[in-house]
């Protein structure tokens, strides 16, 4: 790191103070207590977090159980649709440790992106979509792990509504009855980045790439820690407990230098409707408030986040800005992709860099990864698929970590 860089440690030295966390004086109630009361009355089923799990501390000092395996992967439409290396990296990480998981086909998206974009829905429909998914997970015996930050935030908000409004529970139960499904709410609503967080030291044990040449900035996803804020993971050792610990902690565990920047609290500019049909706002915000600020204050090799929309917005907004000579050019990855790459995931079969737009080659060059060699390998895969001699890339092709030359 250069001398004029403002490091996280320097910021903390100036600003941090002792953090007192006591669940007994937390400003919000513990919703899990209400869930168990409703279950005792026979209104809902609470799906328990399966063992093994790790207990993590959340914003106000309550503990949250994060399951390690036996998880039902609630995929993200934006990840699977436009940045598939995000999803494949999450699964690849599970597979490296032989963890039991389910990649279901009886899952719909939360439809929250559409709700936040257009409001062409209502509370009952949104709660029914969530409950149908949770019920489907419960019926398999696997515990939901939510890949999307918006689904995670939206579901926590809906959980609050279901708990506090009996008429909403009754309406959702009426609809689920038609499908032969019970009303299930999981004991915890778990985001995949929380699993990444608890697994970070295990990742470091299997790390094959030296990430120490890399300086990265972190964009914490709004819907992860701003909606139902008390449910996000915090750690006094990370930013003095003043910001969520997820993403930053895994990068540090992998030896990456995490640099700070002043607009870390700002959203990425996604806007839900804006990113699809009114991108002048999205591009302007992403570039002027996030990317250029990162460039000016930290000049990172990479920026890392943990949500669908943030990766898309920060990555895709840079092309048009470059045409206007703005200070851009920071590749964008998810925490899962970074961890997978550090553990030797194939850059194209697994991490799928080719779906990303901002130039990622300098980042791989700096890591000493001969990306051209792996791109050529991937091209051979594609040629075989085109020739019909291979139906597609499978886990058999992708599981084995690469030994980088």
């Amino acid at each position: 790191m250069t001398e004029n860089l403002t490091t996280v440690e320097q910021i903390l030295e100036r600003k941090s103070h002792a953090v007192t966390r006591d669940p007994n004086v937390a400003p919000t109630h513990d919703i899990r207590e209400t869930l168990f009361e409703l279950e005792a009355k026979g209104e809902i089923i609470v799906q328990r977090v399966p063992e093994p799990y790790v207990e993590m501390v959340t914003k106000y000092g309550r503990t949250k159980k994060i399951p390690i395996e036996h998880t039902w992967h609630h995929k993200s439409c934006g990840q699977c649709g436009h940045i598939p290396g995000y999803s494949s990296s999450i699964f690849w990480l599970h597979r490296q440790f032989g963890l039991d998981y389910l990649d279901p086909t009886d899952q719909t998206s939360c439809t929250g992106w559409n709700y936040y974009a257009s409001a062409t829905s209502n509370a009952s429909a949104q709660a029914a979509v969530m409950s149908r998914n949770f019920s489907a997970a419960y019926q398999t015996g696997y515990f939901p792990m939510i890949h999307c930050g918006t689904s995670y935030g939206h579901y926590k908000e809906i959980r609050e509504q279901l708990v506090h409004h009996k008429e909403l529970r009754d309406d959702v139960r009426r609809i689920l009855d038609k499908m032969g499904k019970p009303l299930v709410i999981p004991e915890e609503i778990v985001h995949y980045s929380e699993w990444v967080h608890v697994m970070r030291n295990k990742f470091a044990e299997k790390q094959v790439v030296d990430m120490s040449p890399i300086t990265a900035t972190v964009h914490p996803a709004c819907h992860y820690y701003k909606i139902v804020a008390e449910d996000a993971i915090y750690d006094p050792d990370i930013y003095g407990g003043q910001r969520t610990a997820v993403v930053t902690a895994v990068l540090e565990a992998l030896g990456i230098n995490v640099a700070d920047y002043s607009t870390w609290f700002d959203c990425c500019g996604f806007g839900f409707r804006h990113v699809l049909v009114q991108r002048d706002f999205t591009r302007s915000f992403a570039v002027l408030r996030k990317i250029e600020t990162m460039k000016n204050e930290a000049n990172p090799d990479l920026t890392v986040t943990h949500d669908t929309g943030c990766v898309t917005t920060l990555d895709k907004s840079q092309f048009a800005a470059k045409a206007h000579d703005r200070k851009v050019g920071i590749p964008v990855l998810s925490d899962a992709q970074v961890a997978a790459l550090a553990m030797g995931a194939h850059p194209f079969r697994v991490v799928q860099f080719h779906w990303h737009s901002t130039d990622w080659r300098p980042f791989l060059d700096k890591l000493g990864i001969n990306w051209q060699k792996y791109w050529d390998e991937f091209q051979s895969d594609l040629d075989a698929i085109r020739a019909g001699t291979k139906s597609g890339i499978t886990w058999e092709d992708a599981d084995k970590p690469v030994v980088y030359a």
Binding site: K75, C80, A119, A125, R273, L276, R283, F285, H354, I393
Partner: protein
């Protein structure tokens, strides 16, 4: 006319929508206020401006989450109508405004206002959502907001030349993904069981969601209803 002590009347905005009666504006306001979630989202306002300072839309538009909380709390019917017909579509729904020390949720208020605007088919709302219909079609029919085949140069021209590459290579690139539920799927984000989609359609009809679509875009409603009803009848 210059503002004087006599004419200065904060909180009483000029009537910017004289074509809409006060009774109609009040009816829409009460529809928002009577939503069971309303009392969870609004507790008053300190006028501290913390919500504005964190709001991305406030930096780029003539938009203020504080004004929304204030107008709703004051029950300023005229101003609320301005908000419901114009301001709400500027909100980025990031919920940074949840930083409010009073415990307000201005982003949540916007969601309620939007729901009422859509449900009542306000013309301004129809105009805003006109270019968005294809996304609603996708999410309601496939259960996914976006799909790989939406990555078209005409839809995302500002995302650079790579979009053309994504589009041209789509069928083979999608086969080169190791995740079983994604491999080879181009018209949805992942492979979904038919039974699951039928359950989703049931939700849309049972919750009145289809009626909402009919109010905002009758052509889109006809398209969706035809496909869904046929599928549901076949079971």
């Amino acid at each position: 006319m210059p503002t004087t002590i006599e004419s200065w009347n904060p909180g009483k905005a000029e009537n910017r929508h004289p074509d809409v009666t006060y009774d109609e504006k009040e009816r829409l306001f009460l529809e928002v206020k009577n939503d069971p979630r309303y009392s969870d989202f609004l507790y008053g306002c300190y006028e501290c401006g913390i919500c504005v300072s964190t709001c991305p839309s406030a930096r780029f538009y003539d938009y203020s989450p504080r004004v929304i909380a204030q107008a709703m709390a004051r029950e300023d019917i005229e101003r609320v109508y301005d908000i419901i017909s114009e301001d709400i579509w500027n909100c980025a729904q990031c919920f940074s405004c949840l930083r409010c020390p009073r415990g307000n949720n201005p982003g949540g208020l916007v969601t309620l206002l939007r729901e009422v605007a859509v449900k009542n088919g306000l013309q301004e709302t129809k105009d805003v959502l006109q270019g968005y219909s294809r996304v609603i079609y996708k999410v309601m029919l496939k259960g996914n907001q976006v799909s790989p085949d939406m990555l078209q140069p005409d839809f995302f021209p500002d995302w650079g030349p790579w979009v053309k590459e994504f589009s041209a290579n789509m069928p083979v690139w999608r086969k080169a993904i190791p995740v079983d539920t994604l491999r080879g799927v181009t018209d949805a984000a992942w492979r979904t069981d038919r039974k699951t989609l039928l359950e989703l359609y049931t939700i849309w009809f049972e919750t009145g969601n289809m009626d909402i679509i009919k109010e905002i875009d009758e052509g889109l409603y006809d398209l969706l209803a035809d496909v869904m009803q046929e599928e549901l009848e076949e079971g």
